[in-house]
Subunit: 337 residues, 2 copies
DNA sequence: CTGAAAGCGCTTACAG
DNA sequence: CTGAAAGCGCTTACAG
């Protein structure tokens, strides 16, 4: 557990110099390259790490970043854990601590957002679903001097707060394009988020195909139940279709469950896609589900980079992250899981 | 953002006194009750919070606790997120930071356990599955002066490291007792963890019932697939049974899926129980599943209390946490979800 | 090109 | 009963 002073004494230079060299904040100070190298290599040898508490104290920082998570995704998707894990690792790599809170309801969020908490963090990453009252709150935090970035779905791009979310329109688009490419010509849609629906429409337009509005089923939430009911409605309609774009793995699971329960042989099922690429897709669907990624890791990385930049006085701009398609049995039989 | 000195100046006393009063560490110091109350109330009014960095620095602590999570439970159970969330809240309430890492493989764990990390934490909470090589590693950390507690399943109780886990024998016991109470007399068992199996046996013995060893199906893992295959084996055996104790919600889900796929009417299904009380039980089973809790929140609370106690120079002892039964449709039709 | 010194906000042994 | 003072491990403006 070597300290700066011990390291400096060992090297025979002042600890101020060592600090400046190691943190690469030389200011008006100069060093010979030789001394610099000696300091760097000895620091490595002795495994020196600055004490984050002392550093933060001196620099007037807290050394922690808050990560507030509104639970998103249907239960069981584990999107949240993936996000937290990645944020934690990225922050830790930069010597920052993490203050996590997970919320199910807005009220809990507001309670947790108290002055006591804000005394302990330099910045706040908020993840979940974007909505107007949340944005107002966050703008107020910014005005009070707390740096904020979001990794929220459906963010308003006019907001001055940088946001990092997957491109939902592209999610709808690549799922639909995939179905078209493998030969589907009548593709139903379990609809809830307009951007994803737009992607569904765009893929059809690009391929010169018409969409049948009757095959679009609006739903209220991302539960398995809503997928089940949507499939039931489609079935009742009686219009044949050979593809189904669901907006969540959980909904796709519910749709498959309906088909299974009603005894439809699997060979007769439409080709189905989901969204999230969650354990539900790989393990909890009747047929392993082709799905579009939610890019939680990427948004975590970007959110951390952005909050760090803001804390250090820099800037950060929003980014819409492109998703990827993960092909499984539900659209291409014989695919290895 | 009031500091100790500002608060002291406002009160007209020395900041040393304020520190001692607020932290309740009076040592040889005395204060009149009146002064004490004045200090306390003014601190509250001004919303004073000690700077955790300064406090930790002075006290020779790091102010952070590591939480290392070996992913446990089948995917989709969200046990891990529940645990992290609770640990985070408990630590935060005590002014401690959190350094989370989530691991899937032992190797990642070992890589993360490096000196650089240990410079940043006062203690380590390890959650996941207990195994011997892990224990050796943890004992070594303890020897190196890092405080460790575990919240691991299947811990060896001879270990000197305090462990907080749900009572697995009781999990098997209360699930089985419940089935016996509602009238089941031939109860199959999807078996993987010996303690849970022991609980299954104990419940029978207590009720004066014999168990049929042929209805015990050994499995290799907690996946849905293993539950599916176990149900298939039971079906092939042809021995009638009216209850089924699965050792995980995921296995129960797989067993139900088999029954559904083979077209067995739900009325003819055995009464089924799971373990974990996860979203799988409530949302992803063909029938909402009666399940036994994993008590992740309680073990998180206990682990935090224990690590804090150790850091502050106290002691901590292991605890086996009693689980609870959550009754749903799969054993008592008509139960509200 | 380099070092001495002040100070971040606390805690606590010590002196009165 | 109470306060002045040293010092935790850093960073950085300043003097040489």
């Amino acid at each position: 557990m070597v300290t700066l002073k011990q390291l400096a004494a060992d090297l025979g230079v002042s600890h101020g110099l060592v600090s400046r060299v190691l943190s690469n904040r030389m200011g008006n100070t100069g060093v010979s390259e030789k001394t610099r190298q000696t300091i760097l290599s000895r620091a490595k040898e002795l495994n020196y790490r600055p004490n984050p508490n002392a550093s933060a104290l001196k620099r007037g920082l807290r050394g922690s970043v808050g990560v507030f998570l509104h639970k998103i995704g249907a239960q069981g998707t584990e999107l949240n854990l993936t996000f937290v894990d990645k944020v934690a690792t990225c922050l830790s790599d930069r010597g920052l601590n993490l203050l996590v809170r997970v919320f199910e309801e807005d009220e809990e969020f507001l309670t947790a957002c108290n002055p006591a908490l804000f005394r302990r963090i330099d910045g706040l990453i908020v993840a979940g679903i974007w909505h107007h009252s949340l944005a107002l709150k966050l703008n107020q935090f910014e005005a009070d001097g707390l740096h904020v970035v979001t990794a929220c779905h459906g963010a308003n791009h006019n907001s001055s707060i940088p946001n990092f979310e997957v491109d939902q329109e592209m999610q709808g688009y690549i799922a639909t394009r995939h179905l078209i490419e493998i030969g589907c010509r009548n593709i139903a849609h379990i609809n809830i988020r307009p951007p994803r629906h737009q992607g569904y429409l765009n893929a059809h337009q690009e391929a010169g195909l018409a969409t049948d509005p009757r095959l679009n089923i609006d739903t209220e939430d991302f539960t398995r139940q809503s997928g089940y009911q949507a499939m039931q409605k489609l079935h009742t309609l009686g219009i044949p279709f050979d593809g189904l774009v669901a907006q969540a793995d959980s909904q796709a699971a519910g749709a498959m469950y309906y088909l299974l329960e009603k005894g439809h042989p699997k060979e007769s099922w439409p080709k189905i896609t989901g969204v999230d690429d969650s354990p539900i897709a790989s393990d909890y669907c009747a047929i392993p589900l082709t799905s579009v990624t939610a890019e939680m890791k990427t948004s975590a990385e970007m959110a951390v980079a952005a909050i760090v930049s803001k804390i250090e006085g820099g800037t950060a701009t929003s980014c819409l992250i492109p998703p990827r398609l993960v092909v499984r049995e539900s659209t291409v039989p014989g695919t290895l899981a």
